[in-house]
């Protein structure tokens, strides 16, 4: 953990000497049934209210409901929080709460020396140890020597604490997580009240359960306070410098849903969202299905092809057609997307990337669909590609996708990934009315109407069926560049193919020039990132720059077309490093577009980059 100078606070009965930290990483881990996600969410809220910046990530088991006590049934929640801006979920936990042996087992390898490990020894019976795959009890064979182990028998203690509640011992044990939470609250000096309030609200019909959990929370806190274990680690983390305003936490998929609704409203359109469930994209369908009062229609189609086709039909009829999936599902939509490109209708396609190829690892994150987005279609079929860089950035990019689709009559593919989808961070809630609207224009004037006559941006008119006197036919067979009727004329095909390219190229005039996130706009090394690698790159570059290293961070949110100034910008650097959670896909695009010797840094483990991995690469590239 990043330590700041020791602060000497006079020790008094309940207030120990708290070590001041700049930031810390806590991971709650337990069985699927142990409520680790709730625990994490409550710790997040308490931490936010304590004015720390933070980032969180849930780690669900791949299986729906794995058998109790198994390693593949472990559910975890990690939070990185601090007095400084937080950009990643943290490379490794400083504090691990493990409510059973399996939770310890799967997280052991991630623990740095000196990490604090809080165990529920009550769950370390032989059966659980065996289920977790421990031959011998790790508490006895010295495999925990490198850590600071706090071996609480939470199971026993929570039962004692709740003895008089009249709850069954099974129900009592259900409160384990809040007992542990109370204990950790004390360690980090977090307020308990918000959690108590939440419990009362959540269980307002079950007051017994509510008060039992609050009791457990307080008991865990008291145990730490009375410190019968002897001096416990206690920390103090100051408020982080944050822009003033009203905040909430938000996940990428929440932000996406809100951003799409905002985009639809700014375009003045109803939304028809067509999708087929797939991990990790489904959450967007679920979120939007709850927002139908905002002019949203959600359609669960029979498959991805039908979803894309229905979204195209909706766009043809004058609504905002959106379809969403993950890599394998996007692959199935390819032909339909080609139709939207050919007939030139607006279409928003959202790809929540996951590890592949094929079914791959649905619950694990990867960035390997950039080729598919930029190049992955038959024929010369350009479209607009965007990528969100953080959970909250999903909001802006979703709105941007709608804007560009509607204004340029083109499919736009927005790339997000399994990490962004589930990660959360504090969000300075914007005033959506402050951002400019971009109302969609529908052609209604029959005079000189031609379905494919382009405006000066190369954009054709959008016509709602139902409009008098504008009846016309469009289709996927090559069409006359003005009338839209079938045409096999050789020159027409050349002209309209070039027009399709020119239209997408012209989008570059409608997007911001590429800026530099950190560092100078020329120098020895540029780290060029896209998507969810933003956090680790940003942190690594900050650290290295603080050490005086000449490195800059450039982060792309507009992947195709690329910003007009990007080539020039990249040529200003001696070296260009492109960290990607794939085998070097953006690297290919940059090399071919600008002939710059961009070098890839590839990671495909289903996990985000660690800051240290990027720092190591910077070292490697610059020590010569």
């Amino acid at each position: 953990m990043a330590v700041m100078e020791q602060t000497e606070t006079a020790p008094h009965i309940s207030e120990p000497a708290r070590q001041s930290l700049e930031s810390a990483v806590v991971r709650f881990a337990g069985d699927s049934g142990d409520g680790m996600q709730v625990t994490g969410a409550q710790f997040t809220l308490a931490t936010a209210i304590s004015r720390n910046d933070l980032a969180t990530f849930p780690d669900f088991p791949a299986e729906i409901r794995a058998p109790v006590g198994t390693t593949f049934g472990v559910s975890a929640f990690q939070i990185n929080f601090g007095a400084r801006p937080i950009r990643t979920i943290g490379d490794a936990p400083d504090v691990l709460v493990a409510l059973n042996p399996a939770a310890l087992k799967v997280n052991l390898t991630d623990l740095p020396n000196g990490a604090v490990v809080i165990l529920d020894s009550g769950s370390f019976g032989d059966r659980n140890l065996k289920k977790a795959g421990f031959a011998v009890d790790p508490r006895e064979d010295g495999s925990l020597d490198a850590f600071r182990v706090i071996d609480l028998d939470i199971s026993k203690r929570v039962k004692e604490a709740l003895a008089d509640t009249g709850l069954s011992s099974r129900e009592q044990l259900r409160c384990k997580n809040f007992y542990a939470l109370g204990f950790v609250y004390w360690m980090f000096d977090r307020p308990r009240q918000p959690t108590a309030d939440w419990l009362l609200a959540k269980f307002k019909d079950k007051p017994v359960i509510a008060s039992a959990n609050i009791k457990a929370l307080n008991a865990g806190h008291a145990l730490a306070e009375t410190a019968e274990y002897g001096p416990l680690p206690a920390f103090n983390i100051d408020a982080a410098p944050m822009a003033p305003g009203l905040y909430r936490t938000i996940t990428g998929h929440e932000a996406l849903a809100f951003g799409l609704v905002d985009g639809a409203q700014k375009a003045g359109l109803d939304m028809v969202f067509c999708s087929y469930p797939i991990t990790p994209a489904s959450a967007l369908l679920h979120n939007l299905a709850r927002l139908r009062s905002f002019g949203v229609t959600t359609f669960q189609a029979e498959d991805e092809i039908a979803a894309a086709s229905a979204a195209i039909g909706a766009a043809y009829a004058g609504s905002l057609g959106i379809t969403s999936s993950s890599g394998p599902g996007i692959a199935l939509k390819t032909e339909a997307i080609g139709l939207a490109i050919a007939v030139e209708l607006p279409l928003v396609v959202i790809n929540s990337q996951r590890a592949g190829p094929s079914t791959g690892m649905p619950t694990k994150t990867e960035q390997s669909d950039l080729y598919q987005a930029v190049y992955g279609r038959n024929a010369d079929a350009p479209l607009v590609v965007l990528a969100a860089s953080s959970p909250s950035n999903c909001f802006e990019m979703a709105r941007e996708a709608v804007r560009l689709a509607v204004q340029h009559m083109t499919p736009v593919m927005l790339l997000t990934d399994g990490f962004l989808a589930n990660a959360s961070e504090p969000w300075l809630i914007p005033d959506v009315d402050a951002a400019p609207a971009f109302p969609a224009k529908f052609r209604t004037d029959p005079v000189d109407f031609m379905p494919y006559r382009r405006d000066r941006h190369g954009v054709r008119p959008w016509v709602k069926p139902g409009t008098p006197d504008l009846m016309h036919r469009i289709g996927g067979i090559e069409r006359d560049q003005l009338t839209g009727n079938i045409s096999y004329d050789p020159d027409n095909h050349q002209t309209i193919t070039e027009a399709r390219f020119a239209k997408i190229a012209a989008v570059a005039d409608d997007i911001p020039l590429q800026d530099v996130e950190q560092g100078s706009s020329s120098g020895r090394l540029a780290i060029v990132g896209w998507g969810s690698t933003y956090g680790p790159i940003s942190r690594a570059v900050t650290t290295q720059r603080d050490l005086g290293v000449d490195v800059s961070h450039i982060h792309l949110r507009h992947i195709w077309p690329l910003p007009r100034n990007l080539g020039e910008l990249l040529r200003g650097f001696e070296k260009v490093l492109v960290p990607e959670m794939n085998k070097g896909q953006l690297t290919t695009v940059l090399r071919s577009e600008y002939l710059v010797p961009a070098e890839g840094l590839s990671k495909v483990t289903g996990k985000p980059f660690a800051v240290s991995e990027i720092e190591a690469a910077i070292d490697r590239l610059l020590d010569d």
Binding site: D270, T297, A314, A315, S319, L428
Partner: protein, 335 residues
């Protein structure tokens, strides 16, 4: 919505040269559809023809309404999206047996199951016309085609039997050449709220000529076809002397007058009876081929219900703005 002035068939023809093979059954169907549109006083501006790919699917280019020639097999899905966006539009779907039963079978099936308010015309020529004559899922066993030079061996699908299996609420059959019958049939299908499937027997003169002559030829049609009218006895034959009767749950053909069978013994057509419909759709020679409306049993359409449901959401959720929504739940102030 109706057009201000009454339009004629011709008003529904586009300026595009029709490019089917001379003698193709599609011409007759085009004529019948244009007549139907005039008969029902369709508003061209409010009418959309959606198709997949195939000879049949060229249809929209020849109809002076809105038209969308999409991709192979996906027309029912595209049309579903159109209705979700705007249920007020009058949407027709046109495609061939390959388009709608081979690559597009699943989309057709789910459009029927959901009961999306579409008028679906399936031109069945039992062949892939546009790609030059390969056999299709409706081709008879033994069909010689470029992809089955020694004859096909797989059992064909019955479009309407499949539709009944998928839970269709309107199922009818027509024949390209029957210009008297077809427009009424199409008008009935159009009048049905919800998914209406009409199989139109269509002759591909180039790749599958006379595939249907055994029941469409002038000489045989009287005996080989049964034209259905709801509530009326199912009688057929030039001499109107033959009819259908139920025998231990199976349909059988009987001759009126012969061994004591009278007209009163003949089963009356009940277009709302699914069991009867399931039997009628599968009748093949030597049984008469059922023509007309076989099943018509309306239920609320998917698109209508979706919009009603959305409206309920809007009504129930006490209207809040997006700004308000974003500020719901736990928030904290940084000053």
């Amino acid at each position: 919505m109706n057009a201000p002035v009454a339009l004629s068939s011709k008003d529904f023809a586009t300026d595009q040269e029709v490019r089917w093979c001379p003698g193709c059954g599609d011409y007759a169907i085009l004529k019948a559809v244009q007549k139907t549109l005039a008969d029902i006083k369709a508003d061209p501006a409010n009418t959309v023809f959606v198709s997949g790919i195939g000879c049949a699917a060229r249809f929209p280019y020849y109809i002076e309404t809105y038209g969308f020639h999409t991709i192979h097999g996906r027309a029912p899905a595209v049309a579903t999206g159109i209705k979700l966006a705007n249920p007020e539009l009058d949407v027709w779907v046109v495609g061939g047996d390959g388009d709608m039963l081979s690559i597009g079978g699943n989309h057709l099936m789910h459009a029927l199951r959901r009961n999306v308010d579409l008028t679906i015309l399936l031109f069945n020529n039992e062949i892939y016309g546009l790609t030059k004559g390969q056999y299709s899922p409706t081709s008879r066993v033994g069909t010689r085609s470029p992809s089955t030079p020694t004859g096909s061996i797989d059992t064909p699908l019955s479009a309407l039997k499949l539709a009944m299996g998928a839970g269709a609420r309107f199922v009818a059959r027509g024949i390209d050449t029957q210009q008297k019958v077809l427009p009424d049939l199409l008008a009935r299908a159009h009048a049905h709220k919800g998914a209406a499937l009409v199989e139109i027997i269509q002759n591909c003169i180039v790749y599958n000529d006379n595939a249907f002559s055994h029941f469409t030829d002038r000489e045989v049609e009287g005996e080989a076809q049964l034209y259905l009218r709801h509530g009326e006895p199912m009688i057929f034959g030039k001499a109107r002397d033959r009819g259908l009767r139920l025998n231990h749950g199976r349909l059988e053909v009987v001759t009126i007058g012969a061994n004591g069978v009278g007209e009163h013994d003949i089963l009356r057509h009940d277009q709302t009876n699914p069991q009867l419909a399931s039997m009628l759709v599968s009748m093949e020679p030597p049984m008469p081929v059922a023509i007309g409306v076989i099943y018509d049993n309306p239920a609320p359409s998917y698109d209508a219900m979706v919009h009603a449901d959305n409206a309920k959401q809007i009504a129930s959720a006490k209207a809040i703005t997006l700004n308000e929504l974003l500020r719901r739940g736990p928030t904290w102030q940084v000053s």
